[in-house]
């Protein structure tokens, strides 16, 4: 049994290490390709597209922090769109538009249309050089916009993202777990793709894209479908992927920081993870479907990260599926717990050192993460692969309840 566990973990680890090793080889082999050009004097106009669905007062808070950014006020504005929220989000958007006249455009869709279409419709109101797509609960650092746009000094740079932190890392064990997840997904995992400027998914929580590139991809987004069923989620990964296919570089600037509120309810968390996984699965299908068109255009590291790296999840899913046939107590095997805790200890140390605001109070939360990781790798993968015919707004699909006396603060 131990051999089996080690084989599954070893295979996953090997594929992951291969990704990093490959990135290092690419970085060393093509130093010119991996060098990033930044110009902090660059000040293109920026339209911040803020799609909103059931965000409540958080959306107002987000807009306020965005507008406090250290960037010329005349060169950026917010286009906030309510996608027919079932709570008071629209009122908060209207309040923002009233409180920040000329800098915030508040609009509401005629019907619930999904995030992709909402973004596209909002982009039509923009004439800016750069379109910055964000999540409606995103809180910006002062220099976030400048850090993002500085990367566009390189004309080949198509999409630039930032890293996201958790605003509520210690609310409960769930948010503690997500602090790990966010660090892994948005910091650690991207680092190696960054080295070759071929990030396969710049997160939609903070994604800056050249306007003409966005317009170029827009028709594809509008016609996205799964055997005739409209696809509404995963537009961030889709846009990034197509930017790479069009020969542009993609990059996540670790200095461009923002913070989002991690779900503190299991249903929300499940929904969020499910949508992430489904987005990845869709992208994997698209990649294999059009594999030949990647060759010669996309950076080899990007191809590897789009084709082989996602298989690590599938490998682990298969492993988890098979494991109980050998040993039903596989999930309770001490090695699983030990590996989980050891990994957690290392990650906690790194997070505490580099992101003090993300410090996790309970280091044992990673044991729970290990448990979640098993469920995530198994059931969510299967679920996402079998629900391609279904799209919604993900974790925000259910109406949020505004708590009496809730304050608008960061």
């Amino acid at each position: 049994m131990l051999t089996f566990i080690l084989c599954v973990l070893g295979l996953r680890l090997s594929l992951s290490i291969a990704k990093y090793a490959w990135s290092i080889v690419m970085r060393i082999g093509h130093p010119k390709l991996s060098g990033l050009v930044q110009d902090y004097a660059l000040e293109p106009t920026v339209s911040i597209l803020l799609p909103c669905f059931n965000e409540g007062p958080d959306v107002y808070n987000s807009i306020r922090t965005i507008l406090e950014c250290d960037y010329p006020a005349g060169k950026f504005g917010v286009i906030a769109t309510d996608d027919r929220s079932r709570d008071d989000s629209w009122e908060w958007l209207q309040k923002a538009a009233a409180d920040f006249p000329g800098r915030v455009i508040a609009r509401q869709n005629s019907r619930n249309m999904g995030k992709s279409r909402t973004l596209i419709d909002a982009s039509h109101l923009s004439t800016s050089d750069i379109i910055l797509v964000i999540d409606s609960d995103c809180i910006f650092a002062k220099d976030t916009i400048r850090e993002l746009v500085s990367c566009f000094a390189d004309p080949k740079m198509g999409v630039v993202g930032g890293t996201v932190g958790v605003r509520n890392p210690n609310t409960n064990s769930l948010t503690q777990v997500q602090t790990y997840v966010y660090f892994l997904a948005f910091d650690l995992w991207k680092t190696f793709e960054n080295w070759t400027k071929s990030v396969t998914c710049v997160g939609g929580y903070l994604m800056a894209i050249r306007r003409h590139l966005f317009e170029q991809i827009e028709p594809k987004i509008l016609t996205r479908n799964w055997f005739g069923v409209e696809v509404m989620e995963g537009e961030d990964r889709y846009i990034t992927h197509h930017a790479l296919l069009l020969g542009y570089d993609t990059y996540v600037n670790p200095k461009a920081r923002c913070w989002t509120t991690a779900p503190d309810k299991y249903a929300q968390f499940f929904s969020q993870q499910y949508h992430w996984r489904k987005s990845g699965a869709r992208d994997l299908c698209m990649t294999y479907k059009s594999l030949w068109s990647h060759l010669g255009i996309m950076h080899p590291n990007g191809i590897y990260c789009s084709t082989v790296a996602p298989l690590t999840v599938l490998t682990f899913t298969l492993g988890i599926f098979i494991a109980p046939l050998f040993d039903p107590l596989f999930f309770l095997h001490p090695i699983t717990l030990v590996i989980s805790l050891a990994t957690g200890a290392v990650l906690r140390m790194i997070i505490s050192r580099h992101f003090p605001d993300q410090k996790i109070a309970n280091p044992l939360a990673f044991a729970f993460f290990g448990f979640w990781w098993i469920i995530n790798s198994f059931y969510l993968t299967v679920l996402s692969l079998l629900t391609f015919d279904f799209s919604d707004w993900g974790s925000r699909a259910k109406k949020r309840v505004r708590r009496p006396g809730q304050e608008l603060c960061t």
Partner: protein, 347 residues
């Protein structure tokens, strides 16, 4: 007809198939997860399940047991034979020893009698020897005085003083006297030998003592042989008793039962569930592992001794003991688990 015209129909068909497949798969996965979770929880909490095992004569363990019991039985038989031989040896040795031991007092008595005789005759002979020596001395002195008689006889014969017959008789008398002296001397010498034998330790007596010592040594050796044989018998008797006990225990094991019959149904009872595994307790077999159950037999014999096996559900190490099952439905022994005492659920 163009592809674009039929694409919506194709999409709908693919979508329908995908949805059917997805729904079936998702429900199957969900059912599998739920069953796995419920099954795990059930077996973690159930106190009535046992793991059936079918034993047969051809099983490696049964064959091993047959081989080992035969070997052990042979050893026991050899030990018993050896003990009988040793007992015969002891009997013979004891008889021989007893005979030898009866010789010792006779020898002692003979030596004592001889010594007593010597003590009695020795001094007499010494006295006689002295007297004899005195006689010899006197005789020799007398004969010395007669040394010139022979010449005198010749002179007198030559002178015709005596007749030839007288002379011859006189000479013969003289020779006879000398011969008697010589005989006396011989007798004296022989008497000295006799006295020496009677007064000093003789080689004959030493030989007797030597033989006595040998006899004693032989008796001691026989004692050692008897003692050693008795100890060996005790050891072998102990060993045989232990082996007999082992054989007795082996004959109470399920494998021995398997050796007797072509097929023996047993079940491993985990220690946690031992309370229900009593002889005569009903045994149930269930459909869907533990859902719908029927009685398929009873517990026949409860065997002593710990057994190890793999947990039929959790695949972990399982400790317990075996019971022999009397099954009315033999195929139930092929189930993954059976239940003893009562149905796991109410039906």
């Amino acid at each position: 007809m163009h592809l674009e015209d039929i694409k919506p129909a194709i999409n709908r068909s693919v979508l329908m198939l995908y949805r059917v497949f997805a729904i079936v798969t998702l429900y199957a996965v969900l059912a599998g997860v739920v069953m796995f979770a419920f099954g795990s929880a059930f077996y973690a909490g159930s106190k009535t399940w046992v793991a059936p095992v079918i034993l047969s004569q051809g099983d490696k363990e049964a064959l091993d047991l047959t081989s080992k019991t035969l070997s052990t039985q042979n050893t026991v038989d050899d030990l018993k034979l050896d003990m009988a031989k040793l007992e015969d040896t002891i009997g013979e040795a004891q008889l021989h020893k007893a005979k030898l031991e009866t010789l010792l007092p006779a020898i002692d008595r003979a030596i004592a009698q001889e010594n007593r005789h010597k003590r009695e005759t020795g001094p007499v002979l010494v006295s006689l020897d002295r007297q004899k020596n005195s006689d010899v001395t006197r005789t020799q002195s007398a004969l010395t005085k007669l040394a010139d008689v022979n010449a005198t006889i010749d002179k007198e014969l030559a002178a015709g003083l005596i007749t030839k017959t007288d002379a011859t008789q006189a000479t013969l008398q003289l020779v006879k006297s000398n011969g008697d002296l010589t005989d006396s001397r011989i007798a004296t010498t022989l008497l000295k030998d006799t006295i020496w034998e009677k007064t000093l330790p003789s080689t004959t007596s030493l030989d007797t003592l030597h033989k006595k010592a040998e006899l004693e040594s032989e008796i001691a050796s026989l004692g050692i042989v008897i003692d050693s044989a008795q100890k060996q018998i005790a050891t072998e008797r102990n060993q045989a008793a232990k082996l007999d006990e082992a054989l007795k225990i082996a004959k109470q094991t399920p494998l021995w039962a398997a050796r007797q019959d072509a097929r023996t149904n047993v079940a491993l009872v985990p220690y946690d569930n031992q309370a229900v595994a009593n002889e005569g307790a009903p045994v149930y077999d269930c459909y869907l592992s533990f859902v719908v159950c029927r009685q398929v037999g009873t517990v026949k014999v409860r065997f002593a001794g710990e057994q190890h096996t793999t947990h039929p559900i959790f695949r972990s190490d399982l400790r317990g003991f075996l019971v022999q099952l009397q099954l009315t439905v033999p195929d139930s022994a092929k189930s993954k688990t059976l239940f003893v005492g009562s149905k796991p659920l109410l039906f």
